[in-house]
C-alpha cells in the first residue's frame, strides 16, 4: 500500500500538470480541479484509516531503502495533517468557483492551487529533511504567485514582504540542514533520530535553534511573524482561507516533528525557549488583533495568537500537551479558514472589510450571522465548541506540570480573543448599516456550501470531541515515543539502537 503514502502529493502534482496543459479551457479546469480535491480527501481519509488500523506506513521512493533514498512516512500526525489539507482543499476549491475571477483563472490559478496542495502534503509526509526543504520551496513559490496573482499594488507590497521573510527562513533552514548533515552524515529523519543523540549535545542544541527560527518564521511565531499580517489581507478570500488554514500549520507541523523526533536531547533548554516564545506569540498576536479595525487583519493577527497555543502544547512536551497541540491544529485550521470564507461573503454583501463600513448583517442576513458565530465563538474558546476543548486540553496539560504562568497567559489571551471576536460581531452584524452603504443581494449559494460544511465540522468536533481526541491521542503517543517511527522506516534492528550513546 505504499503508493497510498505518496498519493496525496502525486495526485495534486499530476492534476497540476494536467491543468497546466488545459490552460485556457476554464470549464474543464474548474471541473477537474474541484473533482480532484474530492479524490484527494478520500485518499487521505483512507490513508488515515489505514494508519490508525495498521500503524505507520512508509514509502521508499525508487525502492531505494532508507536511509539512502527518500522516504515518505505517514504516522498519525502526518495522516491527520493530510486529511485536514484535503478537507481544506475541497472547501476552498468549491468556494473558489465563485470567488476567483476569470482573470486569475487565466493566469493559472487552478494549477497553482494544486501545486500548493502538493507542497503542503509533501512537507507533511516526507521523512527526509532535505526533501522537506524542497516541499517548503514548492509551497513557498506557489503561495507567492497565488498571493500576487492579480498584480495589485497592495498585493505586491504584501507579496514582497512575504517572500523576503520566507527566503530568510529557507536560508536558515538550508544552513541548518547542511550542519546536520555534517554532524550525522544523513538526512533521513528516522536515521537522524538515532544519530543525533550520539552527537555532541551542545552543538545539536545550537543547530536546534536554527530549526526553531526557520520553522518559527513559517509558523509566524514571535518575533518572526511580520510577513503574515503584511500579506494575508491582500489576496482573494479563497486563497487567503487556505493560506490562513494551512501555511502556518506547515511550520507548526515541522516544529512538532523536529522537536519530538530530532531535538529532544535537552528538553529543559529547547522546549523552555519554545514555551516563552509561545507565550509571547499568544500575547503579541492577540494585542495586534485588538489594534485592528479591518475584518481580515483581525483574523490574520489571530492566527499568530492561536499558533501560540499549539506551540505551548509542543513546548510542554507531555502526552496530554501534544494531544492538545494536535487537536488544536485541526480545530484551528477549520475555524480560521472558515472565518476567512465568511469574511468573503460579508464583503460581497457590504463591499468592504473595514469594520467602520460594515453593519446591519444580523438583521439582513441572520443565517450568515450564525455561520460567523460558530467559528468565531469556537476560536474564542466558548464551550462546547471545538476551540473550548482545544484550549482546555493545553491548559490542563500546563496545569498538570504546574506551568501556571502560561496557564494565566493562555486564559487572559482567551479573554482578549473573545474581545476581538465580539468586536467584529458588534461592528459588522449588530450595529446599524452606516450611512451611504448599501447591502448587495445575497451572494451565490456556492459560497455558503463550504462555510456550512466547515461550521458543521466545528460543531461535530465540539459535541463529539471523543473520537477526535482519540486520534490526536494516538498521534501524541507516537510523538512521545519515536521508536515506532524509526522501526517503520529503518526496521527493528535500527529501532533498538535509538537513544543509545556510543
Amino acid at each position: 500500500m505504499s503508493w497510498l503514502v505518496g498519493a496525496p502529493v502525486i495526485l495534486p502534482l499530476a492534476v497540476a500538470a494536467l491543468l497546466f496543459v488545459l490552460q485556457g479551457r476554464r470549464e474543464a479546469q474548474r471541473v477537474i480541479s474541484t473533482a480532484s480535491t474530492a479524490l484527494l480527501v478520500t485518499l487521505s481519509a483512507i490513508l488515515l484509516y489505514r494508519v490508525s488500523e495498521g500503524g505507520i506506513l512508509v514509502a521508499q521512493f525508487g525502492e531505494w531503502r532508507a536511509p539512502f533514498g527518500i522516504s515518505f512516512v505517514a504516522d498519525h500526525l502526518s495522516a491527520i495533517m493530510v486529511v485536514i489539507t484535503g478537507v481544506m482543499a475541497v472547501a476552498t476549491a468549491v468556494y473558489a468557483l465563485r470567488d476567483i475571477d476569470p482573470d486569475r483563472e487565466a493566469l493559472g490559478y487552478h494549477p497553482l492551487f494544486q501545486v500548493l496542495l502538493a507542497g503542503i502534503n509533501g512537507a507533511f509526509l516526507t521523512g527526509d529533511l532535505f526533501n522537506m526543504y524542497v516541499w517548503f520551496e514548492v509551497l513557498l513559490i506557489a503561495s507567492f504567485v497565488l498571493l500576487t496573482l492579480g498584480n495589485r499594488r497592495e498585493q505586491l507590497e504584501g507579496g514582497i514582504k512575504y517572500v523576503a521573510v520566507n527566503l530568510v527562513s529557507s536560508l536558515v533552514f538550508l544552513g541548518a540542514i547542511g550542519l546536520v548533515y555534517g554532524v550525522t552524515g544523513t538526512l533521513n529523519m528516522a536515521d537522524l533520530a538515532i544519530r543525533l543523540p550520539q552527537a555532541p549535545g551542545g552543538l545539536v542544541s545550537v543547530i536546534a535553534m536554527l530549526f526553531m527560527v526557520a520553522f518559527g518564521i513559517k509558523a509566524a511565531l514571535f518575533p518572526l511573524f511580520f510577513w503574515l499580517p503584511a500579506s494575508y489581507h491582500t489576496p482573494p478570500q479563497a486563497i487567503a482561507a487556505i493560506f490562513a488554514g494551512m501555511l502556518t500549520k506547515v511550520g507548526v507541523y515541522a516544529l512538532i516533528r523536529v522537536f519530538t523526533l530530532l531535538f529532544v536531547h535537552d528538553v529543559a533548554y529547547t522546549h523552555t525557549i519554545l514555551l516563552w516564545i509561545a507565550g509571547f506569540t499568544m500575547v503579541t498576536g492577540v494585542l495586534g488583533a485588538a489594534a485592528q479595525n479591518d475584518f481580515r487583519k483581525i483574523l490574520s493577527f489571530h492566527i499568530i495568537s492561536q499558533i501560540g497555543y499549539m506551540i505551548m502544547g509542543l513546548a510542554l512536551y507531555t502526552p496530554l500537551a501534544l494531544l492538545g497541540a494536535v487537536f488544536y491544529i485541526v480545530h484551528h485550521i477549520i475555524v480560521k479558514a472558515n472565518l476567512f470564507l465568511v469574511a468573503g461573503i460579508v464583503r460581497r454583501y457590504a463591499g468592504s472589510f473595514d469594520l467602520d463600513r460594515l453593519g446591519g448583517l444580523y438583521r439582513r442576513a441572520p443565517f450568515l450571522s450564525v455561520l460567523f458565530l460558530v467559528p468565531a465563538f469556537s476560536l474564542a474558546g466558548f464551550p462546547p465548541l471545538s476551540g473550548f476543548w482545544a484550549k482546555l486540553v493545553v491548559v490542563l496539560a500546563a496545569a498538570d506540570v504546574g506551568a501556571w504562568p502560561i496557564v494565566a497567559v493562555a486564559l487572559v489571551v482567551g479573554l482578549l480573543t473573545i474581545y476581538s471576536m465580539t468586536k467584529i460581531w458588534q461592528a459588522a452584524f449588530w450595529s446599524p448599516l452606516p450611512d451611504g452603504v448599501e447591502l448587495a443581494p445575497r451572494p451565490s449559494g456556492l459560497l455558503y456550501a463550504p462555510v456550512i460544511g466547515l461550521a458543521l465540522l466545528t460543531l461535530a468536533i465540539g459535541f463529539w470531541s471523543g473520537p477526535f481526541l482519540a486520534v490526536a491521542e494516538a498521534a501524541a503517543t507516537e510523538l512521545m515515543d519515536p521508536t515506532a517511527y524509526v522501526r517503520a522506516v529503518l526496521g527493528d534492528a535500527a529501532a533498538a539502537t535509538i537513544g543509545r550513546t556510543p
Binding site: 521512493f61 555534517g182 482519540a470
Partner: protein, 789 residues
C-alpha cells in the same frame, strides 16, 4: 441508577425546544408565549415530582460519559440545593415566557428571542444540575453567551451593544479565572466530579493550593453574581428587554455565583479566608448598591440596585456559613425570587402601557392599571420585608443569622432600609395619586403580562402565611446540601416580640425617613455626581481604553510597514538566539590549526572582505548590489580552488543574474529611491548583525567539520550508482534516481516561478494605468457577478 437519565434528558429537551422555538413561534403566532411556556411548566412539574424523594434526603445522581479521556462527564445531581434553584429557574421561567409573549408582541425578532431565552433556561438548569466541574463550566459559559445576545437584543442601539459586551467581558473574564480554579481543584482532588470532591473536604481545605482555588473560583462566582467591585455590569445590563432583566439579571443567572459558592461551601467554606472574602464582598456590594440606588430614577435601574443588595446579602450569608445563616440564605433566595421577578415585570408593564420608566414622570397609574398595582403592592411589601409576606420571614431569618456579626447586621439593616425606599419608588409612587401623569395614554396590561407576576406575588403572600409549605420539603434539604449535614429548622411568620422584629421596625422607620427625604437627597446627589467616572466603572473603562492604546502601541512598534525593520528583528533574533545558545550552551569544540593557504587564496579573501565592507558602506543601492555580486564571485572562485567547478559555474550564473535583475529593477524605480537614506546607527546595527551572523556560521561550520564525518551515504552511492542505477556520474544518479523526488519538487518550483513571472509581466505590460484603481473596479464587477449568480 434511580430515574434513568431523565434529569439530563430534561435539560437536553429544553435545548431542543429552544432550537425549535423559531419554528414554533412562526406556527403559533401571538399565542407562542403560552405554547412555549409548556416547556418550563412541564419541567417544573417534573421537578416537583421528585420533591418527596429529595425531601427524604435522597439525591438523584446520573452520569453519562462525554469526554471520557479527560474525566469529563455529563453528570447530573438533583439534591435539595439544585432542586430549589431548578424550581426557581423553571417556575419563574414559565411566568417569564408567557409575559414575554405579551411584552414583545409583534416584535420582528421574537423567534430569535425565544430561542435565546429558552437556550438560556436550559443552560441555567445545566449549571445548577451539573455534578461535574467542567460540564458546569460549559453550561455556565452558555448562560454568559445567551445573556450577551439578550442584553444586546436592541442591537442597533449603541448602549445596548456596549452593555452587552461589558457584561460578557466581566462574566467571561471571571469565568476563565473560575476555570483555572476548577482545574486546580480537579488536580488537587483527583476528579472533576463535584460530589466526589465534596466528600473529602479536608483534602482541599488543607491543600497548599486552597487559597488559589478559593480566589479563582471566587472571582468567577463574584463576577457572575455582580459583587463589588464587579457590580457595574448589572445595572447596565438593564438595556435588555424587561423579561430578560427579570429573568436573567434578577431571578436566575446572577444567582449562579451564589449557587456555586453554596455548592462548593462544604469543600471550600469554613475558613477565615472564605469568611472575609465573601462577607466583605457581600457587605461592600450591599452598601455600594444601597448608596448608588439613591441616584436612580429609572424603575429598572432601581430594581437592578435592589437586586445587587439581595445578591450581596446572599453572598454575605454564605460567607458567614453558620447553620442559621445558610438557612436564612436559602429562604432569602426564594423570597427574593418571588418578589423581584414580579416587580420587574410590573415595571416592564408600566413602561409598556404608560411609556416611561422614570418614576418621577408617572403618577396615578393605579386607577387604570389596578391588577398591576395590586401585584406591585403585594410583591413590594414582600420586598420591603413587611409582614405578612414571605419577604418578611426571609428578612427576619437573615437578621437572626447575623446576630453574631453586628457589623454585617448593621450593613444589612441599612441596605434593607434602601429596599423600602426602592419599593416605594417602584410600587407606590407611579400608581398612587388621583391625577394620571404618563407620556402615553396608560391602560391595563393584557392577561399574559399580569398573570405571571400576579401568581408569583401571590406565591409570596401564601408562603408568608404558611411558610411551612416549603420549609421541611424544600428549604431544609437545600440548607442541608450546603452545610453538608442536616440542620432542621422551622419557618414562622410570627416569631413573637424578638430582637429581629425590633430591627425590622427600625429598618422600616429608616426606610420611611429615606422616602420622606428622597427627592432633595436624590436631586442633590444627581447634580453633584453626574459625570463621575472613577470607581469600578471608571476602572473598567480605563482598562479597556488602556488595552486598546497598548495594543495599538505594541503593534506600531512591532508591525511597522518597513521591511528592513522586520528583517532587522528577524535576523537579529536569529543571530542572538543561536549565538547565545552557542556561547552558553554549545560547548563547541573545534580545531583552529590549519595549513597555510596559497597566496591567491588570500587575494580572494581580501576581495570578498572588501566587497562586504563596500556593501555595508554603500550609499547607493546599485553599489550595494554590485558589491554583493563581487563577494558572491569571490565565493565561486573558492569553489574552483577546491575542485567543484560545477558548483562554481552555478554560483557565477546565479550571482550574475541577481545583479542584472536587481539592477534592472532598481533603474526602473522612481528617481531618488536609489539613494540609500539610512543613517549611521541603522548601518551599525545591520553591520553588527551581519558580522555576528557570519561569525556564527563560521564557528558552527568549524565545529561540525571538527567531528569525524560519517560517509556511509556517499559510500553507498558510489557502490550502487552503476550496478543498481546504471549511471556513472554519481551526482546525476543522485539527482534523477536516488533523490529523484527532490528534483521533481525543484522542477515544479522552476515551472511555477516561470508561470508566476509570466503572470506578473503580462499583467503589468497589459495595462499601464493606475493598478489600484483598475483592481477596485474589477473587484466591483466581480461582486456584482457573484451577487447575480
Amino acid at each position: 441508577m434511580p430515574g434513568g437519565d431523565r434529569v439530563l434528558i430534561a435539560v437536553l429537551l429544553a435545548f431542543g425546544v429552544a432550537l425549535a422555538a423559531p419554528v414554533i413561534v412562526r406556527v403559533a403566532g401571538d399565542r407562542s408565549g403560552w405554547v412555549l411556556a409548556l416547556l418550563p411548566a412541564g419541567i417544573t412539574a417534573y421537578l416537583l415530582s421528585h420533591g418527596s424523594r429529595v425531601a427524604a434526603g435522597e439525591s438523584i445522581v446520573e452520569r453519562v460519559a462525554w469526554v471520557s479521556a479527560l474525566d469529563i462527564h455529563l453528570s447530573m445531581r438533583l439534591d435539595g440545593l439544585s432542586l430549589v434553584f431548578a424550581l426557581m429557574i423553571a417556575g419563574i421561567g414559565t411566568a417569564i415566557v408567557i409575559y414575554a409573549g405579551g411584552y414583545l408582541r409583534g416584535d420582528r425578532q421574537l423567534p430569535r428571542f425565544y430561542l435565546l431565552l429558552l437556550a438560556f433556561m436550559a443552560a441555567m438548569l445545566g449549571v445548577v444540575l451539573s455534578d461535574n466541574l467542567i460540564s458546569l463550566f460549559v453550561f455556565w459559559e452558555l448562560t454568559s453567551i445567551t445573556s450577551y445576545f439578550l442584553v444586546g437584543y436592541k442591537h442597533e442601539d449603541e448602549t445596548s451593544r456596549k452593555s452587552a459586551l461589558q457584561a460578557l467581558l466581566v462574566t467571561a473574564g471571571g469565568g476563565l479565572a473560575m476555570l483555572a480554579g476548577f482545574l486546580i481543584l480537579g488536580l488537587v482532588g483527583g476528579t472533576f466530579e463535584i460530589s466526589e470532591l465534596l466528600s473529602d473536604p479536608e483534602a482541599i481545605r488543607g491543600h497548599e493550593a486552597y487559597l488559589a482555588i478559593l480566589l479563582l473560583v471566587g472571582l468567577g462566582a463574584l463576577t457572575k453574581s455582580a459583587q463589588w467591585p464587579f457590580h457595574f455590569w448589572l445595572p447596565n445590563a438593564m438595556a435588555a428587554p424587561t423579561p430578560v432583566s427579570a429573568y436573567l439579571h434578577s431571578a436566575t443567572m446572577v444567582k449562579a455565583g451564589v449557587y456555586l459558592l453554596a455548592r462548593l461551601s462544604p469543600a471550600l467554606g469554613g475558613t477565615p479566608a472564605w469568611f472575609w472574602l465573601l462577607t466583605l464582598a457581600g457587605a461592600a456590594t450591599m452598601l455600594a448598591a444601597g448608596s448608588l440606588a439613591l441616584l436612580q430614577r429609572d424603575s429598572k435601574r432601581l430594581l437592578a440596585y435592589s437586586t445587587l443588595i439581595a445578591l450581596g446579602t446572599l453572598v454575605m450569608l454564605i460567607g458567614v456559613g453558620t447553620p442559621g445563616a445558610i438557612s436564612a440564605m436559602i429562604v432569602f433566595l426564594v423570597g427574593h425570587a418571588l418578589y423581584k421577578a414580579p416587580l420587574f415585570m410590573v415595571a416592564g408593564s408600566v413602561d409598556h402601557e404608560a411609556g416611561s420608566r422614570d418614576v418621577t414622570a408617572l403618577r396615578g397609574l393605579g386607577r387604570v392599571m389596578p391588577i398591576t398595582w395590586i401585584t406591585a403592592l403585594v410583591a413590594g411589601l414582600s420586598a420591603g420585608g413587611l409582614p405578612p409576606l414571605f419577604g418578611f420571614v426571609a428578612k427576619e431569618l437573615a437578621y437572626e443569622g447575623l446576630f453574631e456579626n453586628p457589623l454585617l447586621l448593621g450593613a444589612l439593616i441599612a441596605a434593607s432600609a434602601v429596599m423600602v425606599l426602592i419599593v416605594y419608588l417602584v410600587a407606590w409612587r407611579p400608581f398612587a395619586g388621583r391625577e394620571i401623569h404618563a407620556p402615553s395614554a396608560p391602560h391595563e396590561a393584557p392577561l399574559s403580562m399580569w398573570l405571571g407576576p400576579a401568581l408569583l406575588a401571590a406565591g409570596g403572600a401564601v408562603l408568608g402565611f404558611a411558610p411551612w409549605l416549603i420549609g421541611d420539603s424544600l428549604m431544609v434539604p437545600a440548607a442541608a446540601a450546603v452545610l453538608g449535614e442536616l440542620h432542621p429548622f422551622r419557618l414562622y411568620l410570627w416569631h413573637g416580640f424578638t430582637l429581629a422584629l425590633g430591627l425590622s421596625a427600625v429598618t422600616v422607620a429608616l426606610g420611611v425617613v429615606l422616602v420622606w427625604r428622597w427627592r432633595p437627597v436624590h436631586d442633590a446627589l444627581r447634580s453633584r455626581t453626574l459625570g463621575w467616572t472613577f470607581g469600578p466603572v471608571g476602572g473598567y473603562d480605563a482598562l479597556m481604553a488602556g488595552l486598546v492604546r497598548f495594543a495599538a502601541w505594541q503593534t506600531r512598534v512591532l508591525q511597522s510597514d518597513d521591511l528592513r525593520h522586520h528583517m532587522t528583528i528577524i535576523l537579529g533574533f536569529t543571530v542572538a538566539l543561536t549565538g547565545l545558545t552557542a556561547t552558553f550552551r554549545g560547548e563547541l569544540a573545534f580545531d583552529l590549526r590549519h595549513e597555510a593557504g596559497y597566496f591567491y587564496e588570500y587575494i580572494v579573501l581580501v576581495l570578498v572582505g572588501a566587497a562586504a565592507i563596500s556593501a555595508l558602506r554603500a550609499h547607493s543601492r546599485l553599489v550595494a548590489i554590485t558589491s554583493l555580486g563581487v563577494a558572491g564571485f569571490g565565493i565561486a572562485i573558492v569553489f574552483v580552488f577546491f575542485a567543484a567547478p560545477d558548483l562554481a559555474i552555478t554560483q557565477f550564473l546565479v550571482e550574475t543574474l541577481i545583479v542584472i535583475i536587481v539592477a534592472l529593477v532598481l533603474i526602473r524605480l522612481p528617481r531618488g529611491s536609489l539613494r540609500e537614506t539610512s543613517n549611521g546607527s541603522v548601518r551599525a546595527i545591520a553591520g553588527t548583525i551581519a558580522v555576528a551572523g557570519g561569525a556564527l556560521f563560521t564557528v558552527l561550520t568549524l565545529a561540525v567539520t571538527a567531528l569525524p564525518f560519517d560517509a556511509s551515504l556517499t559510500t553507498f552511492f558510489e557502490a550502487e550508482s552503476y550496478p543498481a542505477a546504471q549511471g556513472r556520474n554519481i551526482v546525476n544518479v543522485i539527482l534523477v534516481d536516488f533523490r529523484a523526488i527532490d528534483t521533481l519538487g525543484e522542477i515544479t518550483v522552476l515551472a511555477v516561478a516561470a508561470s508566476g513571472a509570466y503572470a506578473l509581466l503580462r499583467r503589468s505590460f497589459g495595462r499601464r494605468r493606475d493598478d489600484v484603481d483598475t483592481e477596485d473596479r474589477s473587484d466591483r464587477v466581480h461582486v456584482e457577478r457573484g451577487g447575480g449568480a
